[in-house]
Amino acid sequence: MPIMRINHSILTALLLCMTLCLSAQTSREEIYADLRKSGGLMLEYPGPQSVQTPAPKGYKPFYISHFGRHGSRWHFDKHCYTDPLETLKQAQEQGVITPLGEDLMRRLEIIWDDAKDRDGELTAKGYRQHQGIAERMYETFPEVFKGDARVTAISTDVPRVMVSMLAFTDRLKQLNPRIRLEENVSQRDRPYVSTHTKASLEYEQSDSVRRAFHEFFEAHIQPDRLVHSLFSSEEFISSFDGKSFMRHLYETASIIQDTELDFDIYDVFTKEELFDLFQISNYDYYTTKGSDPAGGRTLLETGKSLLKYTIDCADEAIAGGDLAASLRFSHDSHLCPLATVMQLDPCRGIETDPDKYYTVYANYKVSPMAGNLQVIFFRNRGGDVICKILLNENEVGIPVQTDMYPYYRWSDVRAYYMEQYDDFKDLGI
């Protein structure tokens, strides 16, 4: 490991550079280059984008703390599919549909046929995403799962989340049938899989936050061009809510990537429109689940109970128990606050201009479908414990000093969080 011999100032410079690369600002061009990203939270799991940095000499992985979002799903609000389809059908009946409109209608019918009766459910792709993450976890850190390793798994009680957990753990069992799996879905575990601070809910639903979102929404959804490309009558166009139509159509356009369907409907949008629509959902997440300074501590601490579990289970594993992995399965609305409370590099950008939020925070980088956060723990013979953090299987930094990035001394990480959130005990859990 030559890197170990480099002196500290060079290393620090190197680290700074790496950290900057990792938290690199998101640009319009990035989304234009892959329109699926405009779907934000609906982006299908992109998988690991980089190779793992080998652990410092003498360190072996022994424990993994994981928190994952369910995989790709169908929309839980069926109106995303049915409302635009209904409008198009009416236009067709009235003879005011353009050829592009008719073509779109045919595609929406196929999509709806696929989605019908499956509100909010995991797609086959979502199932495979979790199998894949489990497989890579197992293969990247085989020492963790050897023998009759004890693995705990908990989830929220929503079917797509439970089935994600089943897909994940079934693959682990397939790879090593001797794994002792303790899997459950219990109301008792709810504080560890979902965030529920009263303060954050009140903040999220406060008038000022809602009003500001509404203004941003209104300014970034411009359906004029779109509806004129689909419908040929001004009268018809003025007979329905164009913004709602466009929003629903965008939702449908974004979710296709999460199914087995092999076409898209991006051609009915311009890339500028898609970018604006992405900004709306991204605005929502930055201001209610990200590091928006306007939200202060309330926002920062929303994911505290989730982090507390991470620390408690790590304590248990380090104390010499037989715990090999703690797996959790949940939703984007909980993964994002966890990433925020942990102050991961891509989740601690500060920006006050709503039109630039996307430059410091991109929800699809934090929580695409099957998005996940893993803390991998390593130990050497002397019993020193270090860890690294993976966001969607890519190494990320946190604001803790280290001379071996992406690895951190666990005692430093733990101390940092305990100091930051010294009122952990107030959680009552």
Binding site: D117, P159, D170, K173, Q174, V185
Partner: protein, 418 residues
């Protein structure tokens, strides 16, 4: 009586179920036979399977299982009687036994808190055991690369039952091509009833009779005076019913706390009779419900037949596993006319308990299995298991418990014009 003995007796009764019905005397001798739908899985009821006719090998299993042992689905089942006992204690209105029962009910309620409707550790074990035996009895079915499709309702205890079951199968054969799902579309396979008889459920006078029947069987005087020195302000009948609920479900955890002793065997038998009658009227072969009641399980039966035909044609399908609730298992036994009991007809509420037992049909983790065999010529035969015990259906056969698949299909399609 020990749990083991209860299971043995349940097994003995079930093994002879083709002829004998459970009698009042048997239940009084072992009151745990009146646990009804809360009875922990009494299986396996038959350890050795009848050998298949010469030349036949098992190749496919179609299964429907109820979730395993669980906590109550509503917290008030624990909290309501606890509150009554608590407030009686506060005003000094409990006997020494009453105080002791308060302590025990509190332990049971605390164990259940935050676990409403969830699968207990015992429930996990039940499914693991069933899977283990399914694999070991029919090894040829679960060979590497063969397909297993498991589906459940979206209720956590059911999903976890499936998890426990499938994790065991996975241990037995890691190479299975297995997928697990709990989607809305799964309900077509795991939770669908034919509701054509809705008039019966709403309007039949029997439902009024049932209320009176239950009322006459709920005799709380002895129990209440054993617990309370002052019963003022307490609804004795509903308190007795609440304690009966706590008593029953306490059998489904490993907590080891029981309030069985506060009831006499006769009281338990009587209270169970009312529950049993209610379930029979709603899901059993009660003639009052006519053909509509008997056909309630038809969508499930059709799914069994359709998937079996697909599996026979495909050749690589090992099993269709379905995880669901008692309210879907019981109708399927009725529609299938599975075992003598599910053909037991009566309109006399007093007679129901001697014809039909809810805990035989659907104890915790209850299950129906259709096991298919094939010979070299491609002839397909099938046998039916209820709680892992071979049972009959009203179809002619010269090789019981095995039936020719074509005869089975012909019978059902004729019965229900499928």
């Amino acid at each position: 009586m020990s749990k083991k003995l209860t299971i043995l007796i349940a097994a003995a009764i079930l093994c002879t179920s083709a002829v004998a019905q459970v009698s009042r005397e048997e239940v009084l001798a072992d009151p745990d036979l009146s646990l009804g739908l809360y009875m922990p899985y009494p299986g396996p009821l038959q350890l050795r399977q009848s050998p298949a006719p010469r030349g036949y090998e098992p190749f496919y299993i179609s299964h429907l299982g109820r979730h395993g042992s669980r906590w109550h689905t509503k917290s008030e089942y624990y909290e309501r009687p606890l509150a009554v006992l608590d407030s009686a204690s506060a005003r000094g209105a409990l006997t020494p036994l009453g105080e002791d029962v308060l302590r025990r009910v509190r332990l049971i309620a605390e164990d259940a808190r935050g676990r409403k409707g969830e699968l207990t550790a015992m429930g996990f074990r039940q499914h693991r055991g069933i899977a283990d035996r399914m694999y070991n009895h029919y090894k040829g079915v679960f060979r590497k690369g063969r397909k297993v499709t498991a589906k459940s309702t979206g209720v956590p205890r059911v999903v976890m039952s499936m998890q426990s079951f499938c994790a065991r199968l996975r241990e037995c054969e890691p190479g299975l091509d297995m997928t697990l799902n709990a989607s809305g579309r799964c309900r077509y396979s795991v939770a669908r009833l034919d509701k054509h008889g809705s008039k019966y459920w709403k309007n039949d006078p029997v439902w009024e009779q049932l209320k009176e029947f239950r009322d006459s069987l709920t005799q709380p005087e002895r129990l209440m005076s054993s617990l309370f020195t002052d019963q003022s302000g307490i609804d004795a009948k509903s308190m007795m019913a609440d304690l009966f609920e706590v008593m029953g479900i306490a059998h489904d955890t490993d907590l080891g706390v029981s309030i069985d002793d506060i009831f006499t065997p006769e009281e338990r038998y009587d209270l169970w009779q009312a529950d049993n009658a209610e379930f029979y009227l709603a899901k059993g072969p009660c003639p009052l419900g006519g053909e509509a009641l008997k056909a309630q399980g038809l969508p499930m039966l059709k799914d069994f037949i359709k998937r079996a035909d697909e599996a026979i044609a495909d050749g690589n399908v090992a099993a269709d596993l379905r995880f669901s609730h008692d309210s879907y298992i019981a109708p399927l036994t009725t529609t299938m006319q599975l075992g003598t009991m599910s053909r037991g007809e009566t309109t006399d509420l007093n007679e129901i308990a001697s014809k039909w037992c809810d805990w035989r049909v659907s104890p915790m983790a209850s299950n129906i299995q259709w096991v298919f065999y094939r010979n070299r010529q491609g002839d397909v035969i099938v046998k039916f298991l209820l709680q892992e015990q071979e049972v009959d259906i009203p179809v002619q056969t010269d090789m019981y418990p095995y039936y020719r698949w074509e005869d089975v299909k012909a019978y059902y399609s004729n019965q229900y014009s499928i």
